[in-house]
Symmetry: C2
């Protein structure tokens, strides 16, 4: 049986203190706000030079030996650095906070500034190497061993060799992109170039989009509005064709892996063999019900072997390239959900499974690295709780696990060169941010580098509760987060708003600071609303069966679970069941509008942002993974289409969309409006011109003012 880790966080607002606390403005709570009170950022301001920790200040870099009680020692100062740069004819830098240390054993600091990459030897006090960044370059991928840099100029791939010579690798016409991420962000693909370990060969994606429809985005800020075509393959329409090239820096030759006709196929999770002779990648048919790990000869492009094949009647979705053991080039770690949860498996290069390294009703979220001496793999998992990310060392020989660092909260980790030490960054419900130096040997915290202050100290924070309730299947426990109104009075009746996301690969409730509450939830609590969020079946971090029960019918099971949240709200004596609202964005916008239209008597007011309104307008990779195609699943598409339900609208529904949303394209919202007009129903609308899938910067405050006003207009009183 699954153990659930349940707890309640109470931020007791002491009566005697109440007068001293002040209310939040939206600017305090929303990223982009002028007074946004953010936690110290996750990546602040430490890194590794070998096994020594470097403290990165604007003016000073200091060194700290892990476990040492001595204070950090100054390594270099900004004024000094700028003198060294000046002596070499370089422009000054203004901060040392983004310096990195690529070589564990060399006193070289890497600066990326003023249009170049340069290495500063702080012992010599001089620039020892530099490389200009080509004008207009994007997708820079620098290899620290060879010091070559891959980059793109418009749609083509270039390499700047370590001696500063720019070489054009591809010469493709418009419509074919080389060296960029492919397959629209799915499959864990975040880049388009992959250096071999020695940095002498470069694998890269080549994506032919000439057969893909252009979505006509429009720039409304030009003197006369300007057409901005954006390749966007919608579900069931022609998809792009991807091939993988290999460029050899020494010879200047490029070859392509002989993977056959790329029509309706995806290629993901590229990995080099340590020796640089082979490339491994995952291959999927467009149906995504099968994935093969295939090996190619990188020197000839020939297909060498299919090592692993996985199938699933719903979908398989490998997200991680294989990782070779640092101490044995014949073995690699393969991640798979084949037993229902993402776990690690040890394989040899013959494709034989040697061991399942992790197992249990929890999942591995990240393979961080290895401790070569101890033959351990360092991972982040949900073993403590599905709401947490905790650190473990797993023995590759025995599979035994050791917990590393603190057990509470959501952790991320950066290993030192030897992997004897790690920087453990985390937050927990009452911990805004801690950064600790942890010994991998005994798992203990040796130094506390940062214990961030509570940025909400001066404010009147409402009560936040996390708990579980039963899913609509009557069995599964779902996590909820409940925020009570500020100045809560149990005798009163409050309106309530559900904030929902509900889509795959995401989780709204975590054991991070304040249980990952959103700033807007706090604002609404301050305005006198109860705010509830439930992570329904279909959401992330709970394993395959939990997530894929939504297959071919997105929205159906998810909404049933949200209705369990409604029942929970109705069970609370202080909630006015006649005044329920719902709000969400993207998949949550889909959920919001869907809930308004499917349960028109439950919700009075909804605000759906950047919604999917019909999955046929969503792109092939994500859309077809979860829904198949409109051609093969017409019923599923029809049943999940909000266009079909547009006539059901009874309450007030505000739809908001970014004017240039490239993810959920504006056609989603305009089609829905048309359907409502045809049916005689009256949603409300707002558009943020020039914005994409989310509003960022100061406009995010305007957005939340707008959302809040809508609930205040139509939900605050008995409208």
């Amino acid at each position: 049986m699954r153990r659930f880790f349940i707890f309640i966080v109470l931020f007791a607002t002491l009566t005697t203190m109440a007068q001293e606390k002040k209310p939040f403005t939206l600017h305090d709570l929303i990223p982009g706000g002028e007074t946004y009170r953010q936690c110290t950022p996750l990546n602040a301001w430490y890194t590794w030079w070998g096994d020594q920790c470097v403290e990165l200040d604007v003016d000073t870099l200091s060194l700290l030996k892990p476990g040492s009680r001595k204070p950090a020692v100054v390594l270099m100062e900004l004024s000094q650095v700028n003198k060294w740069l000046e002596a070499d004819g370089k422009k000054p830098v203004h901060s040392l906070q983004s310096v990195s240390f690529p070589y564990a054993d060399k006193p070289l600091a890497l600066f990326q500034a003023n249009g170049e990459y340069l290495l500063l030897d702080w012992q010599k006090g001089s620039v020892v190497w530099s490389l200009p960044v080509a004008k207009g370059a994007a997708n820079m991928d620098w290899h620290k061993q060879s010091r070559h840099m891959a980059y793109t100029l418009e749609n083509n791939l270039w390499v700047m060799t370590s001696d500063g010579k720019g070489v054009q690798v591809t010469d493709e016409p418009e419509g074919i992109k080389c060296g960029q991420a492919v397959h629209r962000n799915e499959f864990g693909i975040e880049k388009g170039t992959f250096w071999s370990n020695d940095g002498q060969r470069l694998a890269f994606y080549r994506m032919d989009e000439t057969m893909v429809s252009d979505y006509p985005q429009v720039d409304m800020e030009a003197r006369t509005a300007q057409y901005l075509p954006d390749k966007y393959p919608m579900a069931g329409t022609p998809s792009h064709k991807v091939t993988v090239g290999v460029y050899d820096v020494a010879t200047g030759n490029t070859l392509y892996l002989q993977a056959g006709d790329p029509t309706d196929r995806y290629f993901s999770n590229i990995a080099w063999s340590p020796c640089g002779q082979y490339i491994y990648m995952m291959e999927h048919p467009r149906e995504q019900n099968r994935a093969e790990l295939v090996r190619y000869n990188a020197l000839t492009g020939a297909k060498d072997a299919v090592l692993i094949a996985e199938e699933h009647e719903k979908y398989v979705e490998p997200q991680h390239p294989i990782t070779f053991l640092p101490w044995d080039d014949t073995k690699f770690v393969y991640q798979s959900q084949m037993d229902g949860f993402n776990h690690l498996y040890l394989y040899n290069i013959e494709g034989q499974q040697l061991a399942q390294l992790t197992r249990g009703e929890w999942l591995v979220q990240q393979l961080v690295g290895f401790h070569e001496g101890r033959k351990e793999v360092i991972v982040v998992t949900t073993e403590v709780s599905p709401l947490q990310s905790n650190l473990y060392a797993v023995s590759v020989q025995s599979g035994k696990r050791r917990a590393l660092g603190n057990s509470e909260g959501v952790h991320s980790v950066e290993l030192s060169a030897s992997a004897n030490w790690m920087l453990d960054r985390y937050s927990a419900p009452q911990t805004p941010r801690r950064i600790e130096l942890v010994s991998v040997k005994d798992g203990k915290v040796k130094n506390t580098l940062l214990d961030a202050p509570n940025p909400w100290e001066a404010f009147d924070v409402p009560e936040i509760t996390v708990g579980t309730l039963k899913a609509a299947d009557g069995q599964t426990d779902l996590y909820y987060r409940l925020v009570k109104p500020v100045g809560f009075d149990p005798a009163k009746k409050y309106p309530a708003v559900i904030y929902v996301y509900g889509g795959p690969h995401a989780q709204m409730i975590q054991n991070s600071w304040n249980c990952a509450v959103r700033g807007w939830d706090i604002y609404m609590a301050q305005k006198g609303y109860v705010v509830l969020t439930v992570d329904n079946r279909g959401s992330g971090n709970r394993g395959l069966a939990f997530e894929n029960c939504t297959f071919r019918q997105l929205g159906v099971e998810e909404m049933k679970d949200q209705l369990q949240g409604v029942e929970f709200l109705k069970s609370l004596p202080y909630v006015d069941a006649g005044r329920l609202g719902v709000h969400g964005w993207s998949f949550g916008g889909f959920m919001t509008a869907n809930l308004m239209l499917t349960y028109p008597d439950v919700f009075k007011v909804g605000v759906a942002g950047g919604p999917v309104t019909d999955w046929k307008y969503y792109e092939v990779m994500y859309g077809e993974r979860y829904m198949d195609t409109p051609q093969t699943n017409p019923e599923g598409y029809k049943n999940s289409s909000l266009l079909e339900k547009a006539g059901n609208l009874k309450g007030r529904l505000l739809v908001i969309h970014g004017g240039n949303d490239p993810v959920c394209v504006p056609q989603m919202t305009y089609s829905f409006l048309k359907a409502c007009i045809d049916k005689g129903t009256h949603p409300d609308l707002f558009i943020y011109p020039g914005h994409g899938h989310n509003m960022s910067g100061i406009d995010r405050v305007h957005l939340h003012e707008h959302i809040t006003r809508y609930f205040e207009d139509f939900l605050s009183s008995e409208f």
Copy 2:
């Protein structure tokens, strides 16, 4: 001194009758509604064959001699017609209502049906001539003498000769349009082909738009949204270049009038000399402060003479081609506002002004035709009242005027072949529609063909009052129309809404049926609102000085006058001055948003439809006529820009736009939204996907539901 014709219309709702009257639905009141109660249409269902009036029924055509007391005589019946058509191998027709009689002296009826034009001889009982309409043809222009037809296929001009042979006249690439109206609907240009009197030569416009920006319209109903570029020259940006060609049917040759470099020039009001040897047209520089009447030799293209030149420091705007006297090819009538009102002038072909035919503080709206025997020109003028259109015969020799037909209401007229008779169609405040046969000889009504029933007979119609109030200049009388709430109680306090247009060339208040009240005004009166409309200075039918006081500062004087309307409302004891709203579309949308932003403490709620928000986004012809260019009038553009005032919004402002508005492009509204977001103000928004500058069909009902709901949400109670 100008005489004003003021009166009040009272639709007394008798208490004893009230119970029998029913309320309107929006479907009853809005064009496109399922139960729309429209008046009998203006063009119903009479026409001329020579001097005999033909009554056009679906099944029967009947002949009536004007002045005769005898009933109409059946001319032909549908079943008979279809037998004749069938005998000639033609498809049957389903109605006779659109048959016309091009030849006064021949028994030939013209049918345009089933993809062809055909002439039926009803005495012979057979089809005597037919011409196929080319597939995809548009802009058909058939000449009854020669029976040739001009038409366009895509961007090129064709002629189908009377024997059915299609000839391609122009062969231009995309971006150059031939045979279509040019200069974006200004200058009274409604078509692009002009036959000589004998129908053997064809003058046509050629418009090169390759240098004009594309406005990126988007079709949201395609499978994947589709780019629909639309040439749209915005104020201050490169305009198209127009030339005029002349095609000779006999030789097949085309020449172009030698008008010089067409850059930044407009060519309008094309007219042929009766002999067919000359073409007259008006030529304007882009500044529109000068207009020349120029004669060209149609056989050589050579410029022959500049006959008349007019200048004005603001603008000149000739809207009517010259018209030759039927009895003297050496003289023509020229229309001009040169004395401050549009009047008729007699010129000879040497360009000498022989006489001013009409004169007075009223204007000629239309030159209908001539009575050759009496040497009279028949015109429609505002002499009775600026709110009316009445018929007059003006002696070309003496300038003496005779009134024709009834003196009340708004008239339009169709002369018989000899001009001895006319069909006079009109409506008046209490007359839904009358059609009368009038003798031009004595101006008397001889037959009443139609006295349409009141389509609102069964409904509870509110009280509608028309009167005058002083403009902000303290001198000018402005007309207003006031609609009181249904079931008016003088002891109550009602919210009030101003419906505004306010732009040039238009008039909201007329002495037509119910004083031209809009259906929505009635609906709002039914909901308990007072509805006021004021035709401010700058609007049409009041002469040049009244209209052009807005030059280079659109909105400023117009709003001052609307504020006089507000003062009038405040003077009414039954109006709640704290609950004022405003609504308008297009120029009226500009006015609405402008009023909300300029007088934020006056109006609580506004609904601005298809608004201009900055004149720099409007097109060159209209925009620069009234505002000059952004380069030459930066202050005027800035002061009239709603983007500059976006931060002033205090009340509730709903902006509505057609998703594909080609007139006020959607960039107008999106730019305004961005300005509001930047300034932290919160307008509301709705978009009608796929609609143009106005919502038509059943969606127009949805639109008015949406507008009404907004006022009900935020103005109906003390919000």
